[in-house]
């Protein structure tokens, strides 16, 4: 695609980056059929190709973004399914980030929208406020139908139970069981600490059991992913600087072999720190260092090699690929291979390339589309006949649980269970199959049910 930015515009790093991305788009249009919003809405501008044109027009213009353009960009999930299928390798992920930051800087949203977005950004990232908000939502639930659209959806999304604040993982060093082979930092996550600290417990047990000394650094608020998705670039960078500083200090001190992330939405941002700070010489090297150390927990355990399972249960599970894992980080096989090695019967989910509708703040900001996607995903998961759904991202887990009656667990919970940890609480009460021989996890390929071979 030919662009016509002025020299002044190109002197701005974000515009120069955008120009480089835009030139790659040649309008093949493969992206449309795999874009969830296009499939649901069938509007050309609700597909990546259309959005790219709108972003092009918006960035080249010196005028404020139009409400129409903002609406189309807001409806993008940033699931990056388009990037997996794009034949021209258009970096839509970063183009969307640039567009969102541009909108936040140059577009004045309607008052109600501004208030709502501020409310979300503040409460989700602050554990205390988040807990208060969840309690308020629970109190409001009987009156939910009287609330305006997005507030009603927020109330519906609030979890029925919250773990006590005391269960959040404390900063510190968690020693390896037996000989230490690696020293790793764990990102415990802001929302995850409030909503599901047991996932961090399971991760620490799994990693320490596999010879890792796990460091949970103090003074880390948030990795910046959530605010970045909302276009709050400056705030996201502020959060990220804190994380980068803390982990560089650890790396300079006793050393780090990896930074482990068990919430893949966060993992995508942490792995992207190098690019996010590429134009800031004060932190570029440190950011790239952290990005280079970042691993999804399943990548690291794959590198180490899973211990022989102590408790191999051939439970039939449907593995849901979080978009941030499959499309952004391209981590597709490690979770499946580990779960199979642990003895589980792993089912792929039909339409696996499609987003579940969680997408960071998306299910709060665009509840109608998110609900359609959530129901669609839950239906596909349940169609597999699995006893439980598995995902590597808390956001997806929450979204799927909202629309499915199946228990939903994290990959690390199952790996922890299989290698000696407790059974995931979500599986309490379900009928378990008899123990499977070690390594007998079923493959996705058919067995010879036709009796031919």
């Amino acid at each position: 695609m030919k662009t016509d930015f002025t020299a002044d515009q190109l002197a701005r790093p974000a515009i120069a980056d955008a120009a480089g991305i835009l030139k790659d788009c040649v309008h093949y249009g493969f992206c449309t059929a795999v874009c969830p919003t296009y499939v649901l809405l069938r509007d050309e501008n609700d597909a990546p190709r259309g959005r790219i044109d709108l972003i092009h027009e918006m960035l080249e213009s010196d005028a404020a973004p139009t409400a129409r353009t903002v609406g189309y960009i807001d409806r993008c999930l940033s699931c990056n399914s388009c990037m997996t299928t794009c034949a021209a390798s258009v970096d839509f992920m970063h183009l969307a980030d640039i567009a969102r930051a541009h909108i936040e800087k140059h577009y004045r949203r309607p008052l109600a929208d501004r208030i709502f977005r501020q409310l979300i950004a503040r409460t989700v990232l602050d554990a205390r406020q988040f807990r208060l908000a969840v309690r308020a939502a629970r109190l409001a639930r009987p009156f939910a139908r009287l609330l305006p659209g997005r507030l009603k959806s927020l109330v519906a999304l609030a979890p029925a139970r919250l773990p006590p604040a005391s269960t959040a993982i404390r900063p510190g060093v968690y020693p390896a069981e037996g000989k230490r082979t690696r020293r790793v930092a764990l990102l415990t996550g802001c929302v995850q600490q409030a909503l599901a600290p047991h996932l961090n417990d399971a991760t620490i047990r799994l990693l320490t059991r596999h010879g890792c000394e796990v460091v949970v650094a103090g003074n880390i608020d948030c990795c910046g992913a959530f605010t970045l998705h909302m276009g709050h670039e400056d705030k996201a960078k502020k959060f990220a600087r804190g994380v980068i500083g803390a982990w560089n200090a650890e790396a300079d001190g006793d050393g780090l072999d990896a930074v482990v992330v068990n919430a893949s939405g966060c993992g995508t941002t942490v792995k992207d720190y190098g690019r996010i700070f590429a134009h800031d010489p004060n932190i570029a090297a440190a950011a790239s260092r952290v990005a280079g150390l970042a691993r999804d927990v399943t990548e690291l355990v794959s590198e180490i090699g899973l211990l022989a399972p102590e408790n191999a249960v051939a439970l039939k599970i449907a593995y849901h690929d979080a978009c941030s894992l499959q499309h952004a980080q391209k981590v597709v096989e490690p979770p499946r291979a580990l779960l199979r090695a642990a003895g589980f019967d792993v089912m792929d989910v039909p339409e696996r390339h499609f987003c579940c509708g969680s997408a960071g703040p998306y299910n709060m900001l665009q509840p109608d589309i998110a609900e359609q996607l959530g129901r669609r995903k839950a239906g596909h998961i349940e169609s597999t006949g699995a006893a439980a759904a598995v995902a590597g991202n808390l956001g997806c887990m929450t979204q799927i649980a909202a629309y499915s009656d199946l228990p939903v667990v994290h990959t690390v919970e199952l790996l922890d269970w299989a290698t000696g940890g407790p059974m995931p609480v979500a599986l309490t009460g379900i009928e378990l199959p008899p123990p499977a021989p070690v390594g007998a996890g079923a493959s996705p390929a058919a067995s010879d049910s036709h009796g031919i071979w």
Partner: protein
Amino acid sequence: MTNQGNLDAFLGDVAATLGADNATVNADTVTRYGENTMPGGDRAPAAVIYPGSTADVQAVVLAANTHKVPLYPVSTGNNMGLGTRSASTAGMVVVDLGKRMNRILEVDERMGFAAVEPGVSFQMMADELKRRGGQWMISTTSGPPEGGMIGNALDKGAGYGPYFDHFGFSCGMEIVLGNGEIIRTGDGSIDHDELVNWHVSKYSFGPILDGLFTQSNFGIVTRMGIWMMPRPPAIRSFHFAFPDDDDLAEIIELCRPMKMSGFVPTLFRVANDMYLAGNEDTHPEYAATGGKASISDDARKELQRKHGIGAWTVSGAFYGPSMDAIEPQIERVRAHFGASGKAIYVPHEDALDRVPLNCAIDSFSGVPTNAELGLLKWRPGGGNAWFTPGTPMDGKMANEFQAIGRKIYENNGLDYTVMNVCGARFARGLHVISFNREDSDEAARADRAYRELADAFFARGISVGRAPIDWHDFHMDNVMPPFRDACNAIKAALDPNGILAPGKYGIGSP
């Protein structure tokens, strides 16, 4: 070009029948429906409409007859390099069957068939079979996973496994003819409510009409039966890299008996270096030459080294009860190709880590894959067209055509990019013409190269299997006049007002 008054009246009728949401003249929409990758430019339609059923399609066709508005049906519009959703000429009304007619109507796991609507893609069908437990597989192309199964079969598309012939493995259609009548083919043609044999037998009483609707514009197929293959427990691929361009002759001779005997169940993919390297790489010398010269031999050698491929790389696969059980067949095929003294064997396990070879494995396994789409970015600017001649499985002849093809690509400063898909008696040569569509000179060279290739092959008695929309008339001009007349006579009989895609495939050109 459609008369505006007629168009308005037609769209009014369509909106009244299908609902206003299912017809649009939105500028963004029609612009994008006209986009394609051809050197001949985009062709924006006048409108786009979205029927939801066979009855809707019939209503649209009848309205088009009434108001003399030309229609251009597309299924999912993913036939990249051949036209995508773009009509052969601007100003028609695109009938997008993919938006709402995308239902899998039936899956019979005893008889091994599915009945689908035109919007059902390979990915959707693969997902559905996965959901049902993965006991069945479909034949997939190595093209876009979102490509439509019906559209591909009707355009004579193909896969790579035993069910590779997508039209041949279809059975029974429902069609809205250009005159608005609805017919069923095969055993579905009986005048009865119970169509027991519709999707299991092609040979009922009367002529076999199905073939009339391949690469034609006589009707809109709204339902098709697709035969499925039981998924084998194990699929194991094999690959051989050959170092020299002229090795193609020997390769073809080696492949022929393996296919003729039925020893190898898949087709052979015999891909040249550019075809495989282009999955992942871009033209390394493009900036230096401004795209005016073919890639150098040195750069080709470097790409071969980088990707672990040869000047030609042969891929095939066996099916069996387990990977171990397939090993004797692998050993046999290794001995066969190894006897040449030039073949370097690449085992299945190594191929899994090489994107271009992994693409072959997916293709043999009925798994839709994006991998080969990388070919489209070999050169910048998004230009892409496919030239698809074929030759008998004769090594000497294959090499002669290789020499002709290479020369024409080089004369036009383009990069010879070919995969020969080989059966027992025939090899289809999938020639990719990658070019910078934003560079008018390069686009003109691509057009010239296509015409020179087509002329050169035609001079030796060879036409193409499929054709990009820019050259439909060009190829029809190479057909014997009585055949052309017969096509136009059928068109006049089934679509007397010529409202279905006039000029597509060179039939009923206005």
